[in-house]
Amino acid sequence: MMNKSNEISANQVFIFVVSGQIGFGILSMASTLAEDVGHDGWIAIILAGMITSLIICLIVATLKRFNNLSIIEINNIIFGKYIGTFFSVAAIVYLTYTTVLSLRNFNDVIRMSALRLTPPLVLTSFIIIPIIYLSWYGLKYICRYAAAQVVLFILVILYYLLLIKYFRFTFLQPIGVSGIKKIVEVSFSPFTSFIGYELLTFIYPYIKDKKKLLRSTLYANTFTIVFYLITIVMLTGFFGEVMLEQLLYPIFSLARAYRAPIFERLDLFFISLWFPIMLSTVLVYYFCAYNSLKRLFNIENNKPKCKILIWSFTIIVILLSRLPENMVQLRSLFDQLGYISTGYVAYIFICYILSFIKRGNKSNEKAS
């Protein structure tokens, strides 16, 4: 049976995908790009965005072949019960891994920018409370909450406008100096920063009007690209590539750059704008992992078991998030995450091909 509190419209998919996409990548991406392609990062972003759009079309096409099923059930259909379960567990491990890393990253960002001395376990347990709360109630409420971020995005853009007078076009010139080959090469790597769209494979059955799905996901991706583009251009034009390379979180440095008239420092408020945005990234991954576990164990309508599941899952996530020893290790794990998510996309591609082979077989009635 479908749970009504999980049903969302295609318009809500937009904000869901944006929440998944805009989060942690954006904090450090500008400096990574500056190291690789200097001031031409924005071209790489556009290219990467186009690649992402193609991948989204592929994912939606795959999902359309299996009517109303998430990747957990698709695995079972394509690979049979045992191998399918293995792949499902692998997918859930991937989600959990992303949740853990982003939660840890969120925790570290807070510790760096605001609370240096708070014990990390206490802080992590605190920031996860809204995440548990919303995940417990369901996807519909997550999307409603995520819609609140639109206000934050607008505020971020307004903040950029405050600093527009320091913006220098000369930092962006000459265009394309780092060479086409290099830019194309890089554009295949930062599309890991766009991950978030792959969550569609987990929430697909809950979407009501599936016809509009592709459109709103592509809109979401475009929104993300435009937002990234504005951010990268702003950061490059503000700091210049040489300075940008050395900053850990250039966005936070940008927040500190503004001197308000009487209040002097408002950086904490501008940094604070990012916290709910990051939180919702953790939220969507957490929800997908938790919900896929529910589907895997087939306990979607069993409240007491769900309660046990959500609490044990939360404890596991909190404990795992303490495993990376320091920031350097976390950084490298994040880089690996890029490869893993690429692997996941490749896996979906395989599923797409296999769906044609399987079509003649017993799963025929399931395919649309």
Partner: protein
């Protein structure tokens, strides 16, 4: 009675008693009624005779009956009739000078009629009871609203009597589409209750859900309108009010016209409006009675006040305890000076003052007005000044707490103001532990909670998240009336456009 729209109290299902019929013989009825009304000295049982000597029994509740009318007009007329002349041929009408008469042959119906204040006549030889509506109940007159004041709108409020309240509403909406669904509440008190709605605007689905919900309340007594709210609320784990309780008829009218329902209960001067969104609690009746630009500004001020009331003390605690570098230098020096004399951490400092203020507020509610004024002077001025001099709290915190208090008075609804105050303390607590992160996570959790809440299946935080453009116009700002042709979608009205077709 002119305004007696309420038909019979529907009687509760009590097994075999339900179908008990009246007897032909007066003595049987009399003894049954005597058993029923044992130890009820207020229920008068008066025997008399018709013109032909046929024994007759008149029963009424002393204090609920217009005794003058009964003595002067009804009893003499009754005594002039023969037993054959009382009823017409079809036993449908009675030859008595009373506007509202009903005839029934069910024992329990007669009993409920008596208890609801009607005068009931039994005549020997007839197995029916005649119920006459000659009710006269002591009640206070319609007065000014006490907790929802306004400047330009109508200055009348509901009273405790449901008949009067309904008559006020009928006077304001002179239309046959204004309908009431009536029933009784309270297993013991048998209070009359009614759900008002406007046919053709109100969504029947919502009406049916609410009617069923309220009818299913199984409780001894409905003390106030808030009892209903607590008994039927969808989500019990929330500090937020689910439905809007108001004492203002004009507010009820405007909400009915948006397709909402109004629940009246006898014995309370408040009316419950459902379904509502969070923003209904932020609207004052005055908003629509003046220039749109001026009142838009008022609305914005109110939302600003809401944010201040929720977060200002918490922000103070967070910044002073953790992020003091956020304070501009010119302000930091006086703050440090005044803080230097205070031995407590900021959270204790704020709690001392906030608690004092809350005590003051709670005390003044129940005190007579002339004492309350002096309590305000003692509490507010003297203690505040003395506390600073004694070095218990700093100067700035007095300003912060005072601004917060003023801001929280901007919230037009009493229930919502209490809720906001409650949340403020939670935010303060977490701000003292986690600084600005505590404030942000509390804010996030607050929004998460608000989007999860639903009022009769409609999202509580609706026009904002989920966003609805045509409703959103009337949230932060107040557009011109001409531009608000569309009814808000909270109650899913059938007729979406205001005004008739021309």
């Amino acid at each position: 009675m002119l305004f007696d729209f309420i038909p019979y109290l529907s009687y509760k299902k009590r097994g075999e008693n339900m179908q008990k019929l009246l007897s032909n013989r007066l003595e049987d009825n009399y003894s049954d009624l005597n058993d029923k009304f044992l130890d009820c000295p207020d229920i008068k049982r008066q025997r008399t005779h018709l013109k032909d000597g046929c024994p007759t029994l008149i029963i009424y509740v002393e204090g609920l009956t217009d005794i003058n009318l009964l003595q002067r007009d009804i009893i003499p007329k009754l005594q002039e009739l023969n037993s054959t002349e009382v009823f017409d041929e079809n036993m449908q009408t009675v030859r008595l000078p009373v506007a509202s008469v009903s005839i029934s042959n069910e024992f329990n119906l007669a009993v409920t009629d008596i208890l609801s204040g009607k005068t009931v006549i039994f005549i020997n030889g007839f197995d029916v009871a005649i119920s006459l509506s000659v009710i006269k109940v002591e009640k206070r007159s319609i007065s000014e609203p006490t907790i929802e004041k306004n400047v330009k709108g109508p200055q009348e409020a509901f009273i405790e009597s449901i008949n009067t309240n309904i008559s006020i509403l009928r006077r304001k909406i002179k239309n046959d589409r204004l309908k009431f669904k009536t029933f009784t509440l309270g297993e013991i008190t048998n209070q009359k209750a009614a759900i008002a709605y406007i046919e053709g605007i109100t969504n029947p689905e919502i009406l049916e859900t609410m009617h069923q919900k309220v009818k299913d309340i199984n409780y001894d007594e409905i003390t106030g309108i808030a009892s209903i709210e607590q008994l039927i609320a969808d989500n019990q784990i929330t500090p937020f009010p689910h439905y809007l309780a108001t004492e203002r008829p004009d507010k009820v009218v405007s909400n009915l016209l948006e397709g909402k329902l109004a629940i009246f209960v006898d014995g309370t001067p408040f009316v419950l409006i459902a379904p509502v969104s969070f923003f209904s609690f932020m609207q004052a009746p005055d908003d629509y009675l003046g220039n749109w630009a001026v009142h838009s500004l008022n609305r914005l001020l109110r939302f600003f006040g809401l944010i201040i009331a929720l977060f200002l003390p918490a922000l103070y605690i967070a910044i002073v305890s953790y992020h003091y570098y956020m304070i501009p230098l010119n302000l930091l020096i006086p703050l440090a000076e005044s803080r230097a004399r205070v031995p407590f951490p900021p959270i204790i400092e704020v709690l001392i003052l906030e608690t004092t203020l809350e005590m003051l507020r709670e005390a003044t509610i129940r005190l007579p007005t002339y004492i309350a004024a002096s309590v305000g002077v003692v509490g507010g001025l003297i203690i505040g000044q003395a506390a600073v001099d004694a070095g218990i709290v700093s100067n700035i915190i007095i300003i912060v707490v005072a601004i917060t208090a003023i801001a929280s008075f901007l919230i037009p609804n009493y229930d919502m103001a209490l809720t906001i105050r409650y949340i403020r303390f939670i935010v303060m607590f977490f701000a003292s532990i986690f600084g600005i992160i505590g404030v942000i996570i509390c804010g996030v959790f607050l929004i998460a909670h608000l989007v999860v809440l639903e009022s009769m299946g409609e999202p509580y935080f609706k026009p904002m998240f989920p966003f609805n453009r045509s409703d959103f116009k009337d949230i932060l700002l107040r557009p011109q009336l001409k531009n608000m042709r569309k009814r808000p979608s909270t109650a899913k009205p059938l007729d979406k456009i205001r005004g008739g077709k021309r």
